[in-house]
Structures are given as structure tokens and as C-alpha cells.
């Protein structure tokens, strides 16, 4: 792991160099919130953010993706032949991604890019993308990354990581991919005192993240014990069953596939984000719905994230503690509190 250094004044020029070779995504301020956007000019990148409103998952997994298309024109010799819609897999860099979000993509790989199954588009985009992270010097009060196996300086999912040291950015190169991309930049090695400063920032950042709940305590309990616990009645009451939490979440990966057809002309096969909060999500063709009740849907979201994923993969929760759902839920359903209840032997307080 080599350390380099970029003075703040040089940063825009560095982004420009990257932009000359890659499509570069970076946090950009849009109204009240930040979002990851493909940069048109280097100056638009703004690292003065805590985190983006939406997770960056759409870079690999767009909310609505045209997967295939087909002609329905009777006189077209290729009528009814389904073809893959052309997609752009040119090399890209995501600059400024937070460690939790990068870790989230690792968790999502279990679904989209495992030894057994490969989603071709997710896999190709992952392959062509280099993640240059940005450590969190001052995590938000809603962050709980350290409770869920990651942290404000966790490099697990990253190819390189920037640390804001005040006058500049220390840059740690983590993978070969990171090394190749950053090689073009001819950066200077970090001055001697930088490594110590980074360690200090890391320690103080990690200390500032509160413990939210204890995933092993949830893992150790019987799945059905939590499933049948009385806690869900109280947890689910306020929930609106909107899609806010799942759409913002970097580890919510569920989708629906639909055909959009223009009679006699053409059709598109779309992949669309879906949400376990929606009753349509589990609505069968027969009319039966195994999760017809709100309480079942709310339970599903938390059980999947905090229990089933742990049970199935043994690599911790399917939540990286980014806190987006905590901040954005309109009725203040707080996964930290739910995690505590799930891990507490299921006795409801008050």
C-alpha cells in the first residue's frame, strides 16, 4: 500500500487528467442534496459532502435499465427477435465514494456476481470501474458502519482511498486496478508526517461512530424465534410501505422485469428497481400474495438485511450502516432500534 499526496490546489487538475481517460463520477451538489453524477467539468465535483442522498448503486445497476429490445413490425425480417440493448461499458472512475458504499458493492456481489451466477451487466460495469474512495473524517450521527463490519476508513471495497488531511489529500493505493488508473497521474509520494496524520484521523473518526446494535447477537438467535417475536407489531405500525428506504439503500438489490410494448412497432424489456415494501412485490399471478400484510413486508426487510443474509453467507449483515434509511424514512423507522430489538432476545421495551 503506497501513500501519495495531492495538494488541494492541484485537485481539479487531477480530476481533469482522470476525465481525459475515463468517465468520472463524483459527488455533485444538486439543490439540498448531493448525488453521484458523471462529471462534465472537473469543478463540479464537491467533496464537501457527508454522503449522497441516493447510494451510488445506480452506477452499476440503474433504476430502470433497458436490457433487451425487439421489433414487433410485421414486415421487419427480424420481427420478434430479442436483442440485447447496446450498453456502455467503457472504463470509468467513481471518485469520492464512501467506504460504506464501496463495501456495500461487495455485499451486492454475492447476488450479482458470485462464482455460480454472474449478472453480465453488473459484472462488466464492476470490472470497468475503479473506486477511489473518500474516508470519512467526521461521520454523521446516523452512521453506524463500525457496528456492521466496515468503518469510516475501511478500504475493503476500494481500489484507492483519499483522506482529507487539511491542506491536501493523502491517497492510498489499494489494488492493482487502482495503481494502474492512478499511474497516469504521476503523483508525488506523501511527505513523512502524512501517515501519522491519517492514523490520527482514522482513530478519531472510528471513535466518533456510535455502536448501533450487535449483529452476532442477531445471528445467534433462531431464525424463527425472531420471525415470530412480538416485536414486529410495534415496529411495523408507523411504516408507510413506501420505497424510500429500499431505493436509497446501497445493498437493496431487488428488481422486477417488465416488457414495455408499442403495439405493432417495438418492445423493450426493462429491469426496474423493486421494493419488498410494495405489496406488488410478492403478488403472484394466481392472485395469492404471501406477503399481503404490511407487518410481513416490514419484517422481511429487516430479516433479510440483519438475519437471513448473515445466516446464508456468514459474512455479517446486508447493511453497511450508511444511515440513509434512518435519515430519509418519513416516519422515523430506525434500523438501529430494530437491530437492537432483534438482538435483545426479543423483549419489547415499554
Amino acid at each position: 500500500m503506497s501513500e501519495m499526496f495531492i495538494a488541494k490546489g492541484d485537485f481539479p487538475a487531477i480530476i481533469e487528467r482522470l476525465m481525459s481517460r475515463y468517465r468520472v463520477y463524483a459527488p455533485v451538489k444538486n439543490g439540498r442534496h448531493y448525488e453521484f453524477a458523471a462529471l462534465k467539468e472537473a469543478g463540479a465535483a464537491d467533496l464537501g459532502f457527508k454522503n449522497t442522498r441516493m447510494s451510488p448503486k445506480a452506477i452499476f445497476y440503474p433504476q430502470a435499465e433497458r436490457m433487451f429490445e425487439y421489433s414487433l413490425a410485421k414486415d421487419d425480417p427480424e420481427v420478434n427477435i430479442v436483442k440485447e440493448t447496446p450498453k456502455d461499458f467503457s472504463p470509468q472512475v467513481v471518485l469520492g465514494i464512501r467506504p460504506c458504499d464501496a463495501k456495500a458493492f461487495r455485499l451486492d456481489d454475492a447476488n450479482f456476481c458470485s462464482d455460480k451466477f454472474k449478472d453480465p451487466w453488473w459484472a462488466q460495469r464492476r470490472e470497468s470501474t475503479t473506486l477511489i474512495g473518500f474516508a470519512c473524517n467526521s461521520p454523521s450521527s446516523t452512521c453506524f458502519c463500525t457496528s456492521v463490519n466496515t468503518g469510516p476508513f475501511d478500504t475493503t471495497g476500494l481500489d484507492a482511498m483519499l483522506v482529507d488531511t487539511g491542506d491536501g489529500y493523502a491517497l492510498q493505493v489499494i489494488t492493482e486496478k487502482g495503481k494502474n488508473v492512478l499511474g497516469i497521474l504521476e503523483l508525488k509520494p506523501a511527505p513523512a508526517q502524512v501517515a501519522g496524520k491519517v492514523e490520527e484521523l482514522k482513530a478519531s473518526a472510528e471513535k466518533s461512530v456510535a455502536t448501533a446494535f450487535d449483529p452476532p447477537a442477531i445471528a445467534q438467535q433462531g431464525t424463527l424465534d425472531i420471525f415470530n417475536a412480538p416485536i414486529w407489531d410495534e415496529i411495523h405500525f408507523a411504516c408507510l410501505n413506501c420505497g424510500t428506504c429500499t431505493f436509497m439503500c446501497p445493498t437493496c438489490w431487488c428488481f422486477d422485469i417488465q416488457d414495455e410494448v408499442q403495439e405493432g412497432t417495438k418492445g423493450d424489456r426493462l429491469r426496474l428497481w423493486d421494493s419488498c415494501m410494495f405489496s406488488l412485490f410478492t403478488f403472484h399471478g394466481s392472485g395469492h400474495n404471501p406477503r399481503s400484510q404490511k407487518v410481513q413486508r416490514v419484517r422481511q426487510r429487516f430479516m433479510h438485511k440483519l438475519k437471513y443474509y448473515q445466516d446464508k453467507y456468514g459474512t455479517g449483515t446486508a447493511c453497511v450502516g450508511c444511515g440513509r434509511c434512518v435519515q430519509a424514512c418519513p416516519v422515523n423507522i430506525d434500523i438501529r432500534q430494530v437491530g437492537r430489538l432483534m438482538g435483545s432476545g426479543c423483549s419489547c421495551p415499554a
Binding site: 439540498r32 433504476q63 430502470a64 408507523a238 431505493f247 418519513p330 415499554a350
Partner: protein
Amino acid sequence: MQAYTEKIREAAKRLLAEKKVDGVIGFRKGTMPFMNEPFMAKTPEQADLLVWDGNCGINLANYLPKRTDKIAIVAKGCDSRNISIQILENQIKREQLHILGAPCKGMTDKRKIQDELDGKEILQAEEAGDKVKVSGRDFEKTFNRSEYLQENCAICIHRNPVISDEMLGEPVQEQQVERYEDIKQIEAMLPEEKRKHFDELIEPCIRCYACRSACPACYCPTCFVDESKPQWVGKTTDPTDTRTFHFLRAFHVAGRCSDCGACERSCPVGIKVREFTKKLEKEVKELYGYEAGMVQDLRPPLDVYRPDDPEPFL
């Protein structure tokens, strides 16, 4: 308004102990500044968790449709109007309800307060009367709540509940305000300006349906966006699909919307969805002289037919 907390708890304990109701729907203190969580107390002990302050902007009527038990519910002016609409529309029976009327001085808009803080994170918010003191790691600032109300609350003209079984406080003074300034500005636009305005308005929409799900008038067993046999509305975030969702929803709540603002408050990306619903509220008021839920047995104009209905748009 915080004084209501004690009264709500007292009423809840009494009603639960006397078994007059099975649950009391109110709010409990949230885990975040400026947030409370809708909550149903089912035992006198749980009644002590109930709270009231300027962060109760979610419309509790949303939790009533199709309930079969006996419920006490805290209702602001707007909630009470939606409750009366729900009663008219057979979603809940009047005799199932014990309404605790909460004369209202408006709900705080946390986004407006956050805008004043230059991106600093609010860690605590303490409300006392009209003041709210917010603090974070290295700052503290006090705001006059009345200057930072949700937009719908700032122009609300029905702050007192229209139906109740007991009141939590004296009626508050109703405001004399021009409700439709923003709508008139849009009405004055050229068609292409309007189109641009609305396209920009809904551009950030992620189709999460929080606006719909928070709305006490949106209780259809299957919402039109969830119709699948056949499907009515496309599910992408293309402008056409998103527009269809917003326009249809707005029409569906025309004459039934109380402008409670729950939709706008709930939107995770801060879209002013009330621009749609308010336009229709204005139309219904101008054409039919009707305001949702104000008169107990008067059905919303768009679900009745009268031979003398005005029809200047035909």
C-alpha cells in the same frame, strides 16, 4: 402545543383503562431531531410514550382506513378533515373513533431550518413555545418556529379540528392568508413554461411513492400504479411515466385533499408535490365552493353528480 402531551397521555390512559378504545394513535418521540414516529399505545403504560410538539406533521388519519377496532386518535385541523372524508367514504365508522382534537399552530419544516445551517448536522432540537433551539457539534442557534413552518401550515386556514370528541386545548386563531400565490404564478405561465416548470419539479422523483403512501386520501386497496392486470402506468423514471403518476394521483385526491402536507413532508428528495394537489384544491373551491372535509355529510364534488354542477370547462 407541547402542553398537549400531558393531556394526550391522560386521555389515553383513561380511555384504555376504561376499555373505551383498543388503541390510541398518536406519536412517540423519534430517534432523530425534528422527527416523531406515529405510534399506537395499546396499554396505559404505553400511553406515557405519547408526545406532542411541532414535529407531528405526518397525518395520522392515514392509519385509519379499514380498521375494525375502536381507536382514539389525535387529530390536527387537517387530520380531522381527512377523517371526515374517510367516514364519508366508508373507510372507518364515526362510532369506532374517539377523536382528540388538537388545535394546531403549524408544523416545523426541518428542511428550512437545515437550510440556515450551512450543511452542519443538527444533533438536537429542543422546542419551547414558539422557539426551537437546535444544536450540533460546534454550534447552537434558536429559531422562531412560526417563521419555519411547513409551507402548507404557513397558509393553513383551518387549524382547528372540525370534528372531535374532546379537545386538547382552546381553539387557536385562524389565519387570514392568500392561499394560492404560488399556484397563480404557475397559472400565469405560458404552456411551454408550465411544461418546463413541472418537468423540472418532478425530475428528481424516484417513484418511491412515499407521497402517496403518506396520504390519508390514498387508501385504494390497489393503487392505480400497482394495477398489474393489465398494468396502467409505466414504472420507469422517464418523464412520461413520472408525470402520469403525479397527474393521476393529484386528480384522484381533488376535492378530497386537505392540504395537510404529509405528501410533501415525506418526499425523500424534497419535491413540492403539493403544487399539483393545490391547483386542484383551488379549482374545486372555485367551481364548487367545496373544501375537503369541512362539512360532515357533503360528499366530494367529483364523486357525486348534480344537474346544476358548474361546467365551464366543457
